[in-house]
Amino acid sequence: MNVEPYIASNVVTLVLLVGVGFLVAFVRRNRLWREAARTLWSRRKVAILTVGLYLAIGVLDSFAWKGGVPEDVVDVLPNAPLTLVDRLFLGTREASYSAPLAEIEFYGGQPLRHPGTHLLGTDILGRDVLYLSLKGARVALLIGGLTSLIAIPLALLFGVGAGYFGGRFDDFVFFLISTLASMPGLLLLITLIMVMGRGTLSVCVALGVTSWVGFCRLSRAETLKLRELEYVSAARALGVSEPAIVLRHILPNLAHLIVITFVLMFSGLVLSEAVLSWLGIGVDGSWGQMIDGARDELSREPIIWWNIGAAGTALFGLILAVNTVGDAIRDVLDPRTLRDSP
């Protein structure tokens, strides 16, 4: 059975939304997390709303459906699945550059097809820059989120396993970590992407495989500490099995680290993708690619500045907001402040 990509994408997004729903329900039910979330909200309203805006754009750009395209629109394939964001900008394509809100073409001075509608101008192919920037949000979230979903479980599997069970497995994990750490990260990334072929998934897998080491070390160290605590001994003395101890006593006490790592890793990964785009092996439609494409346009006379400006601002806005939230999360979830709060 062959499922069309856009349907798969819709389903995955739906599943993710349901997952987020469960997460919210859990946070609301659990007093510790509920209080942490409340503190976080009271401290970083603007940043959280900004991240929320990016998320909303990303989600709106994830549900696609076919049909409903007017006959006279020529710049999309007939019967292509389009998202809400696509539909908002249907048929706004120009022949070439347009400055923001310009009435005529930037080079040549021909009248535009849609004068005064391009809030952020168009690129060399006449595509609306605002549209491209909005499309980039989904790609950025996908890279950050999917890669974290690959890297963090990998790190936990190896880190907690090595820390808890020790022995041979610990040696093996440390061998793996040392080996990965001794290879130049960027080179390894490029190699992996070359081997797997370009594409969103392979970029995410490559980034994931190269970025789990740090958190693995952290979770191993934390597990080493936790497994010696008396509530772990007490659980054993009560006859709790080893896997149950890991699930019930080790992982929940790593949860704050997982959240902090996820948020801080996220922004780093989005930036890494920009670097990969600059090397020409990034993900299609990312802000990194927009910036890469706009590099050459900076050498034109007069300069095309709105292209790189929009992509850079969008990227900067997301990273700044995520980092600000991440910082606050670290403060709120710090074990000391968590324990001492009444």
Binding site: R31, L32, G166, L229, E230, Y231, S233, A234, A235, R236, A237, L238, G239, V240, S241, R248, H249, P252, N253, A255, P335, R339, D340, P342
Partner: protein, 341 residues
């Protein structure tokens, strides 16, 4: 009368890197430890730090931390040797038949799970009962261990509880499946004095009402006097003397027990220097081949450092391992030296 728990010649060792020449299997932190625990009895295991008290308890539960292991002996619970049990069987024994509470109540509860939930989980681990029933039983247990305002405490996180309350929660958890034996490893050491008294009173009450046998591990002879029926004194991995509490406290036979009792502050007159046992427990690698206490013993003589003393059984069901006691007792006291040298 057959005992509920019979420990026979228990030996737990840790591999030693230094003594590679030795034919043996490492350093014996618990060495030929034997004792009985009857139903409803409180047996105190007394000794200095490093004497192997906690290791004895962990050996009984087969929870000796790696790389240590139990290499010999028997732990008979109701006649069956726990050391022969498969791992899953053993896991059922822990919690249902033998429970343990620990020294440090501050860290013996999981900080991210509410106190009630932890006890509920302990109950549901061994009993297949629903959440509501388990919660009701937890509430009863909280009342039984004297936790005020049990309904609020059920949903309290450990950091919202005081040390004494945490220890009560731990006791509730350990008792949740009605074990026959409760091992209490220095249950009051980390608590302040008034709370200590309350916890001891609680243990005494529970032991009486539930007829639970308690293996009490402590270095505090005051606690022994409060709670214990019988006392086993441990030194450097071996039991040196076993006696009824009153006998032991009024008429100690072993020089080590005598030294311990002399160094209780209340027993010396004000202004005098507090008597002490000179030196410290030597590390396992430096234990003498004879009586382990011989390096510090005021009554040592010729064979002490080289020959391990045999078990003596003076009147009153006592047991003591000491050359000096053997020399001083009359020949009519029969010596049941156990077979091995």
């Amino acid at each position: 009368m057959s005992a509920l728990l019979e420990v026979r010649d228990l030996r737990t060792t840790f591999p030693s890197s230094k003594r590679s020449a030795g034919p043996d299997d490492g350093l014996p932190v618990v060495d030929r430890v034997s004792f009985d625990l009857s139903s409803g009895e409180v047996l105190a295991l007394v000794g200095e730090s490093g004497s192997g008290k906690s290791m004895t308890a962990l050996s009984i539960l087969r929870l000796v931390p790696k790389p240590g292991r139990v290499v010999a002996g028997e732990v008979r619970l109701g006649g069956e040797n726990l050391l022969d049990y498969p791992v899953t069987e053993m896991r059922r024994v822990r919690g249902t038949r033998i429970s343990m509470i620990f020294q440090e109540p501050m860290t013996s509860l999981n900080p991210v799970v509410t106190a009630g939930a932890q006890v509920i989980e302990a109950i549901q681990l061994h009993d297949s009962i629903g959440y509501a029933d388990a919660r009701a039983r937890t509430r009863e247990l909280f009342v039984e261990v004297g936790i005020p305002d049990p309904d609020a405490r059920l949903d309290a996180y450990p950091h919202q509880l005081s040390g004494g309350l945490k220890q009560r929660v731990m006791i509730a958890m350990a008792l949740s499946t009605r074990p026959e034996i409760l091992i209490a490893d220095e249950p009051t050491t980390a608590l302040d004095v008034t709370i200590q008294a309350q916890i001891l009173a609680l243990l005494r009450d529970l032991q009486r009402t539930r007829n639970t046998a308690i293996l009490l591990i402590t270095h505090d002879l005051g606690i022994v006097n409060e709670l214990a029926d019988r006392v086993a004194v441990m030194y450097a991995g071996r039991i040196v003397e076993v006696a009824e509490r009153t006998q032991l406290l009024s008429n100690p036979l072993h020089p080590y027990t005598q030294g311990l009792l002399r160094s209780i502050p209340a027993r010396s007159a004000a202004g005098d220097r507090l008597p002490e046992i000179p030196g410290t427990v030597p590390p396992p690698s430096q234990w003498p081949s004879g009586c382990r206490f011989s390096t510090r013993c005021p009554a040592r003589f010729e064979p002490c450092a080289d020959v391990m003393p045999e078990e003596l059984r003076p009147a009153g069901g006592r047991r003591v391992w000491c050359h000096d006691v053997a020399r001083n007792t009359n020949p009519q006291t029969d010596e049941h030296g156990e077979e091995e040298a």
